[in-house]
């Protein structure tokens, strides 16, 4: 029904555009006046007036209709003699009534349920009909209003501008509110977690084994269980593993990416550039899960083989394999972005350097790179946050055991991997194990934020600004 309505409103609005445009043209000719705006603005004006109020109404109605119907139905069911002790049971009955109405309920239907289902059907009908009537009313009223305005030759252009500004504002508001919503949901769940686990035990603990927290309910933890839990959520091995793998990845990605970016921007001929740039960028388009099994099935065993030849014990899931593949995945981010920023350094700076007798590499090292540094650091930062946030490669190639180690040949794990491990499968939302995922998410978020802040300060301080 809603789709039909939206479709009708859209068609009607669009036809109003043509009507409004030609109408104002003819008015202008008839009365021999100069219009305040181009005819098409009167068209836009009609379209916006016809569509926005009715669509907003439809949206609000659709949000509230189920809630209202539900409360009415639960009340009628109660009046019919249905018994429920709490909210969950009431919800269950409501779902049953709905299922009966849709014909997908296969249990026993008693008279209470049957009566309620009939009532439900009645209300659904009533609400749908009144919705349609109201929307038609709104469309008619707003169209009549806007047509009247048009006849008076109003400043349609200004009004259209204001409405468009409003639309843009609403879009940015939605983006901001979503971000805030995510942060707050992280925050609240984390607070629940930290009410059970001491924040210092979490931040400075060196042991991570959340599977020990099989307690059913956080509120009923005994003293013994608490002691057990206390050192199960140590954050140190995870942050160590994350930093370690990201570090290996950056060791691969930064030099190769930066150097290939410099080559592309400064040395490569147009022809080579045109061919090789897209090829490098393909690397960024490969799904991470493909990198993951490449790391796990090819690179990991390869390293183990080599290690054995040298008499080393190499775990087939190692930080080295994961970091290396992650680094390869990140190369295009660094190379493509640094290529762009190096290209945007003005040629006049290079000329100045050449003119004084500097060679190409001297010019690049001492003039071009320093001038492009903020952008290069920006690209490296983007790469770091990609590395820290990357999950799939680590899950597949670096293992799941939280080892506190700096040996790249052993398996290790990262924050994101553990979040996956915790939230995969069935879980209870009030167990500390589940809540720890939110705490991890929050910590990761804060860590990335601090990293960005420091880097931005550093860039501001050391940048060589050209104009």
């Amino acid at each position: 029904m809603n789709f039909v309505l939206i479709f009708l409103i859209t068609i009607f609005s669009l036809s109003l555009f043509f009507y409004g445009r030609s109408k104002t043209k003819s008015i202008a000719i008839e009365k021999n006046i100069k219009l305040n705006a181009l005819p098409k603005f009167y068209g836009y004006y009609l379209v916006l007036w016809c569509s926005i109020p009715s669509l907003v109404f439809l949206l609000i109605w659709s949000l509230f209709e189920p809630v209202i119907i539900k409360s009415i139905i639960i009340e009628t069911a109660a009046n019919q003699g249905a018994i429920f002790n709490d909210k969950n049971e009431a919800n269950l009955i409501y779902e049953k009534i709905k299922a009966i109405h849709l014909g997908t309920y296969f249990g026993d239907i008693d008279s209470i349920l049957r009566e309620s289902a009939l009532a439900y059907a009645k209300f659904i009908n009533l609400f749908t009909n009144s919705k349609v009537v109201l929307i038609f009313a709104i469309v008619i009223v707003s169209v009549i209003y806007s047509l009247k305005k048009i006849n008076k030759n109003n400043k349609a252009r200004d009004d259209v501008e204001i409405i468009l500004k409003g639309l843009l504002f609403v879009s940015s508001l939605i983006a901001i509110l979503t971000t805030l919503g995510i942060i707050f949901s992280l925050l609240f769940e984390s607070i629940k977690f930290f009410s059970v686990i001491n924040i210092f035990d979490y931040l400075f603990g060196t042991n991570w084994s959340p599977q020990r927290a099989f307690v059913r309910d956080a509120s009923s933890i005994t003293a013994a269980e608490f002691e057990e839990l206390k050192d199960a959520f140590g954050f140190i091995p995870l942050i160590a593993g994350t930093t370690f793998i990201a570090f290996i990845a950056m060791l691969v990605a930064v030099p190769i990416g930066l150097f290939s970016g410099i080559y592309m921007a400064e040395y490569a001929s147009l022809k080579i550039r045109r061919i090789s740039k897209p090829i490098i960028e393909i690397l960024a388009g490969i799904p991470t899960v493909v990198y993951g099994f490449f790391a796990a099935l090819t690179v990991g065993p390869f390293f183990r083989q080599i290690g054995e030849n040298f008499g080393l014990t190499v775990s087939s899931e190692s930080a080295l394999a994961a970091g290396l593949i992650m680094g390869i995945m990140i190369i295009p981010y660094v190379s493509s972005l640094s290529d762009d920023v190096i290209n945007s350094v003005p040629q006049s700076l290079r000329d100045g350097s050449y003119a004084i007798g500097a060679t190409k590499s001297e010019t690049i090292k001492k003039v071009v790179i320093p001038a492009a540094l903020p952008g290069i650091i920006g690209s490296i930062l983007l790469a770091v946050s990609r590395a820290i946030g990357e999950t799939m490669i680590v899950v597949m190639a670096a293992g799941l055991a939280a080892n506190l180690t700096i040996n790249p040949l052993e398996s290790t794990t990262t924050i994101t991997t553990q979040i996956v491990m915790i939230l995969v499968g069935d879980q209870e939302f009030d167990s500390p194990k589940t809540q720890s995922a939110f705490a991890l998410g929050l910590t990761l978020f804060i860590a990335t934020l601090i990293l960005n802040y420091i880097a931005q300060r550093a860039v501001k301080k050391y940048r060589e600004k050209y104009d």
Binding site: I356, A371, Y466
Partner: protein
């Protein structure tokens, strides 16, 4: 009447092509030592292309091909085996738009000496920086803020900084490609005064769109049109009594 100085730079049948398009046609032009030569002519006539041949800056442009001869002190420079780095050490250049490096004033000047291995100790470098800035008449204005970025100076100061940068490696020739076209009249006057001072030590070639400037600063003037050197001679003669009708029309503002 003063004696003509020795010839420093000599071009013979110089032709330049940008891809298919020929930009210079058989240019034969002698530039005298310790003198200012002004090159005038309408936009796109090849005067900038010509001076960019003198320090081989056209090498930077892929599609640019240069044929013919240019000699400095009798040595052919349009030669594949010539060391461009040491050529550019001898022939400095100042560009149309001031292009200081986004570094401190000090680093802007010390850049050249450092890459040429001049001024090995800090005190030697300090001396080079101070001397170059003094010669460029900028020292008094910036001596207390040498560690501030060169891009923070005014347009005229930036251009004098670029001149100081060119001087810092102690060149023999300074090429100036419309050095005042982005500057206001006061900054222009300062640069012209500076050029007058510099010609005692250096051979200077200046490309300019301002006839008045050519008269004020140069001893010799060359007029280019559509890639050809139409006329060259003493500045006084070119502006008072040119041989060529086209030169006459250009300097009196009838075209260009």
């Amino acid at each position: 009447m003063e004696l003509m100085n020795n010839v420093k730079i000599k071009s013979k049948n110089l032709n330049v092509y940008y891809g298919e398009k020929q930009a210079l046609f058989d240019v034969n032009l002698d530039l005298n030592e310790k003198e200012v030569t002004a090159l005038i002519g309408p936009s796109g006539c090849g005067k900038s292309t010509f001076i960019r041949c003198i320090n081989r800056m056209n090498d930077v442009i892929d599609i640019c091909k240069v044929s013919g001869n240019i000699e400095i002190d009798g040595v052919e420079i349009n030669d594949k085996n010539l060391d461009v780095v040491s050529l550019r050490e001898r022939v400095g250049m100042v560009f149309q738009k001031p292009n200081p490096f986004p570094k401190s004033i000090y680093d802007n000047i010390s850049y050249g000496p450092k890459i040429h291995g001049k001024g090995e100790t800090k005190s030697e470098l300090d001396e080079i920086v101070e001397n170059s800035l003094k010669k460029a008449a900028l020292w008094e204005e910036v001596k207390d803020r040498l560690d501030e970025p060169g891009t923070g100076l005014s347009g005229g100061q930036q251009q004098r900084l670029c001149i100081a940068r060119a001087i810092s490696v102690n060149p023999e020739v300074i090429l100036m490609d419309e050095p005042c076209s982005a500057l206001d009249p006061i900054a222009t006057a300062k640069i012209e005064e500076l050029i007058d001072e510099l010609k005692k030590t250096y051979t200077i070639v200046i490309v300019t769109h301002s006839m008045a400037q050519a008269v004020r600063v140069s001893q010799k003037t060359g007029f280019f049109h559509l890639g050809k050197l139409i006329e060259v001679g003493k500045t006084e003669k070119i502006f008072k009594n040119p041989d060529n009708k086209m030169t006459q029309d250009y300097i009196t503002g009838r075209f260009g």
